[in-house]
Symmetry: C2
Subunit: 240 residues, 2 copies
Amino acid sequence: MAEKKSPTAAILIIGNEILSGRTKDLNGNYLAQKLLNSGIKVGEIRVVPDEKNEIVCALKSLKRKYTYVFTSGGIGPTHDDITADCVAEVFGVSLPINETAKKIIASHYPKEEEDLNEARLRMARIPKGASLIENRVSKAPGFHIDNVFVLAGVPKIFQAMVEFVIPKLRSSSPIISHTITIHKPEGEIAAALSDIAAKFPKVSIGSYPFEQEGSLGVNIVITDRDRRTIDVVAKLLSSI
Amino acid sequence: MAEKKSPTAAILIIGNEILSGRTKDLNGNYLAQKLLNSGIKVGEIRVVPDEKNEIVCALKSLKRKYTYVFTSGGIGPTHDDITADCVAEVFGVSLPINETAKKIIASHYPKEEEDLNEARLRMARIPKGASLIENRVSKAPGFHIDNVFVLAGVPKIFQAMVEFVIPKLRSSSPIISHTITIHKPEGEIAAALSDIAAKFPKVSIGSYPFEQEGSLGVNIVITDRDRRTIDVVAKLLSSI
């Protein structure tokens, strides 16, 4: 039952550049690690294009299913930056210029408000009821409404926003991973491994084969919130 | 209308190791590029855990929506390799030992069939009605049923299977990308960019800001199937 109450998360990466293979996504992996350290289990990472229907549809489904949803991308000044519009639609709220966001964005430019053309002002449109997420790299903030956290796609800015957001989440006992390397082919240890996994149905035991200088081995990754349980499983595994 | 008939694809990455941030996914990016070169537009990449419900649910939804679904991972010999079981459930077919697959797998081991223990034999379980996908790296095949292609998660094997599969897909005129670099801040060119994008609603025009040695710029990526359209848009963009 404790497991059921532990927070979960989905990461929604928004951007045609990832789906075309042009750009490698770095943000999903970065955030997944940070969340794990806070005891928040990532249940899904999803990459969708810069298309309103797709973003709205994914947001609706993920925000129902997970404690937290984090989005990456689509909050810049150009026509293809439509994440804020989509989030406002999902929550059925308006998308006005947020005066605090406007001041923060203006402070980034030499002539401040004078430099705020229409495009830059787009970045100050924040769904009604949302709170701002600090961006100490380039000022234009992200935002947070209900269980949805909207972050920038540029990795340096994304990471800064993650640092700001993590302490605000409901954390849980950290999820601990322990890796055991066995220098045998996966097919030889699979039966013994399966027996141990069956004895500990709540512990995640992953098997990742590798080849090193022509010889085969397996990394067994034991993941759980309880260090003692991990130790018991690890001891059993070391003897196979 | 031609656009509507062009093939689309989703990539489903199966594996706790990606969701924990322990392993970076390389397969989604690799396959996305290959598909783009064949004119197949990737509409979604989704990462789910090694859990039956999650895999079945994702497969059902993706196979309805896209021309092709490619899965990565979960077809090895261990207890956490459940992709074949999930695919069989989704298509409502049995999962017998496939005699051809069994022979192929046996050929990988020194004593052939004698070395096929129960775990290795798991890899010969292929949904009824599926055809095999060659694995020239470590023999154990993937498979293909209806519009779902089931590939291994180990990148070297995944890539070999992709090479085998690509020629069998219904390709289309390749999707061409053209990048224009503008050395101005994104916020300064956004309005002009937006006007051009509005004139070509069917052309994907992405704007990707960067910082290089302290100065700001934008890569504008124009994507379309028609080279002449790209040239027209590129010419307009170079003057902003």
